[in-house]
Structure formats: structure tokens, C-alpha cells
């Protein structure tokens, strides 16, 4: 059984419908990618899962309906790193990490040590205001904050956006480790299709709010229209 299952999910911003019935699944410990052009509904799909946009349809997580209130989805084990990384820029690096573990007790110091093991630069800067970090460091902080929640499912929105290739590799390497070591499932939205297909087991392609293609990463790479539109060769 899959950890996450969406069936016919619709979402709207005021009068504008952004998702017209999206269905997808994410298995245990699986890394799944969502591809698509700007405005295809990738971000909205993540927001529908974490309840930060009004949505209808069936959303099942770990065998139960996903709660409607965003605060409750966090407690249920869904960590959403939003567009723009959601850094608390006025707070320190340490306070950002502490907030990641807001819904649970115990083991916080140990978890922080693990995060610092993944991203040693965060430890050096633990007392610094998060807003003063570089883009790459903020992305590391966002991942670290998500790790602190010990989530079952990680929702990642454009982790590579605006980052240098070497930093992007570092981020995805960390993601692979989290997946393998902690068995975390990941649903990642990404513009850089070549990059994400190298890491994902499966992927969905969204166009105007619906899934138009789905399959394993190999299948998508072999798909002619996907190749032309998203992979550029």
C-alpha cells in the first residue's frame, strides 16, 4: 500500500481552479518527482497535501485522511519545505531547527547533531540569523528543519532553484541519504528534469492542473514528448 495517495484532488485560489483532479501515489521510502511547466500546478499539488490551499478530493496518508488543518499535517508526519524555503529569517539557525521539531518532544539535541552531520556548515552558523545565510545554506537549513520533524513524507518545492550546481549535488546527496537511512518518502517538485530523474524512482508530468504522463524515470526519459518538452534533447 502506498504511503500517500491522492485521488481526483482539486484545488482553487479564490475563483481560479489550479488543480483539475490530480491523482498520484508515493510509496514507502520512495522518491517521486513532479515535473511540469510554470503554472502547471506542481506547487499547488504540494500545497494541497499540506493543506495550505483549499482542496477537495481524496487525500490519504498512512491509511488515513489527511487532516484539513496545516498544523495537524505537520504532526501527522508530513514536512513541507515550501517555495522560497520558508526560512524564519529573523530567527537564528538553531531556532529554525528547533522549530522543525515543534510538534514532538525528546531527542532534539540528537536530531540536531544528525543534521549538523549532514550539513556541517549549519553548525558553524548555528547562532547566526538565518536571513544572512547564502541561498545554498538556506536550502540546507530548510532540509535540516524538515529532518528535525522526523517526518514520514517530505514535500520539497524546487530545491535546486537559484543554486550553484555543486550545491545542488550536495543537497540531492543529502536527500538520498535521508531516504536510505531514515526510510523517508519524498515528493519533489523540480524544474530541472534531468537532475531529478537521476534521483527519482518515478515521476508525474503535470499540465494545466492534471497528470498527463506518469511512469518510472526510465520510461519518462524514453518518452519522446517528455524528452522534447522537459529534458531538452
Amino acid at each position: 500500500m502506498s504511503l500517500l495517495e491522492l485521488r481526483n484532488v482539486e484545488a482553487r485560489y479564490g475563483p481560479v481552479k489550479a488543480l483539475h483532479g490530480v491523482s498520484l501515489t508515493v510509496g514507502d521510502g520512495e522518491l517521486v518527482a513532479v515535473l511540469g511547466a510554470n503554472g502547471a500546478g506542481k506547487t499547488t499539488t504540494l500545497r494541497a497535501i499540506s493543506g495550505t490551499v483549499r482542496r477537495t478530493g481524496d487525500l490519504v496518508f498512512g491509511g488515513e485522511a489527511i487532516p484539513g488543518r496545516t498544523e495537524a499535517t505537520a504532526k501527522a508526519g508530513i514536512a513541507h519545505v515550501p517555495e522560497g524555503r520558508g526560512t524564519f529569517s529573523d530567527l537564528t539557525v538553531w531556532e529554525n531547527l528547533r522549530l522543525g521539531a515543534y510538534t514532538r518532544r525528546g531527542g532534539i539535541k540528537d536530531d540536531a547533531r544528525r543534521v549538523f552531520g549532514f550539513f556541517p556548515r549549519l553548525e558553524e552558523r548555528r547562532h547566526q540569523q538565518a536571513g544572512t545565510l547564502s541561498g545554498g545554506e538556506q536550502q540546507m537549513l530548510a532540509l535540516g528543519r524538515a529532518m528535525m520533524a522526523r517526518p514520514k513524507l517530505l514535500l520539497l518545492d524546487e530545491p535546486s532553484l537559484g543554486l550553484a550546481p555543486i550545491v545542488v549535488n550536495e543537497i540531492f546527496a543529502a536527500l538520498e541519504r535521508m531516504k536510505v537511512q531514515d526510510g523517508i518518502s519524498v515528493l519533489v517538485v523540480e524544474q530541472n528534469a534531468n537532475l531529478v530523474l537521476a534521483h527519482a524512482a518515478r515521476a508525474y508530468v503535470l499540465e494545466v492542473g492534471t497528470v498527463v504522463v506518469e511512469g518510472t524515470s526510465d520510461e519518462l526519459r524514453a518518452n519522446e514528448s517528455v524528452r522534447k518538452s522537459y529534458l531538452g534533447y
Binding site: 496545516t70 520558508g86 526560512t87 529569517s89 529573523d90 522549530l99 515543534y102
Partner: protein
Amino acid sequence: MPIAAFTWTEFAQQLAAGIREGAIYAGLALAIVIIYRSTRVINFAQGEMATFTTFIAWSLMNQGLTFWEAFPIVLAIAFTGGVVIERTLIRPVENAPVLTIVIITVGLALLLNGLMSLIWGGANQQFHGPFSTRTIDVGGVPISVQDIGIVAVSVLLVALLALFFRFTKLGLGMRAAAVNRDSSRLVGVRVSWMFALGWGIATVLGAVAGMMIAPVVFLDPNMMQTILLYAFAAAVLGGLDSPVGAVVGGILLGVTITLLGRYVGFIGSTLKLPAALLLILVLLLVRPGGLFGKVAVRRV
């Protein structure tokens, strides 16, 4: 008005009185800032809420309780009252434009003012504070115990709050909710409740300010109105966004006003408020964010 000769002893006394005034402004300014930071709403009912809780203290003391017996009861009532007001009046319009909420706080101020007159009458009441008005010798300067007590209570309260915000999980959650609502929800902070807590804490701050100043002035439904103006000024001076700024702004304002009123002949006690506001205007022209206003630190 002729001014008596300058003596250092009197200057020190004026300074002490200024700090005491300032401590009251600081407490109320801090209350304003705590609510403003999280919701961008200026709570115009802050003064009336403070006076209302002070009247509750007065009633309890008339029932035979001592000040320090009544004190914790009043703080508990103030906290609960603040939370209830947020839940019932502010929560339903949480996503309305700021102006709507501000108007609601103005309405609340009028309502509380009317209620106070109805319940306790409009007359001035004597409020017996916990501190004696006799003076003690501090390094050769006679300073009243009351002034020292008021400042001590204010300092203690601000220190406790600082510890709460800095070292507790709940305090961190409140700060997070104030700076980034969306991310706070995503990590599981119940943002709306954090705002309610903010109202509770702000009401407690107001209650303490009210109970401290009531023995110095008289207790009546309008007791806090001028003080609230000074507190607004103090909050703006400090930078509206900054709790530290509110406290520093309050003390600075109290001292400045007191010294101006005493030593600048034409100002006296009648022109203190306009003089203070003029000073703030000049400061804001130079530093538009206030003394501690946020200068965004961000690398791009």
C-alpha cells in the same frame, strides 16, 4: 513660571521620577508591540483594558484582600480576559483588513470605558498601592520607595518576558508565528492560538502598568488615556516592531518629558506631550524605522 535654582540632588530626583514614568510607558508600549508584531494591529483598547483590570484589583482590595493577594488574581483574570477577547472579537476578523480590526479595538475601548462607568462610577478613586511614598536615601538623594518599587516590578516583568520568549518552546512558537505565519503552520505551530496568547500577555502587561500607576494618579475610567498616548509614542520611538525598542523608548520618553517639563520654562507641565511628540517627529525624520526598528539583514 520661574524656575528654582538648579541642584544636582533635584536633578537626580527628577531623573528617578522620569524613569518611573518611563517604566509605566515601557510596560504599556511593550503590550502594544507584542500585539503589533504578530498581527500588525494597533490595539487602541490597551489603555482601557489596563484600567479595567486595575478596577478589578481595586474591588478585590475593597473586599479585604491586600494588594499582593489581589495581584496574582488580577493577572490571571487579565490573561484570561485578553485571550477571550482575541478569540471572540479578533479571531472572526483575523483575515479582514487591518483597519477593520483597528476599528474593533476602538469600539472595544469605548465599550470598556462605558462598562467601567456603569460598574464603578466615573468618580476618582483612591488606589492604595503596595509601596510607601516615604523616601529613602540613595547615595545622598532622597527617592521615594514607590518610584523604586514601580521600576523594580517593571524590570522584573520585562526580564521574565524576555526569558520566556528566548528560552521556552512556546515563546519560540510565538516569535515564529509573528515573523512567518505560513512556515509556522508548516512546522505545526498553532498560529492563531499564538496570537491569542499574545493578547493574554499584553493584557497582563497592561494590568501591571495600571496597578503600578493607579496609586500615583487617581483611579478613574479615563486613567490610562494620556498614558496610552505616551505609550504609543514610546512604541513608535523604539520602532513598533521591537520589544527592546519599546522598553528603551518608554524609559527615554519618560525621562525626556520629565526633565523638559521641569527645566525648560515655557514647556512646564502643559506642553509636555506636544514637546515629546515633536522630539519623536524629529527622530523619525532621521531614523524612519525608530531607534530599534528593523533594518532588514538579508543577503541575496
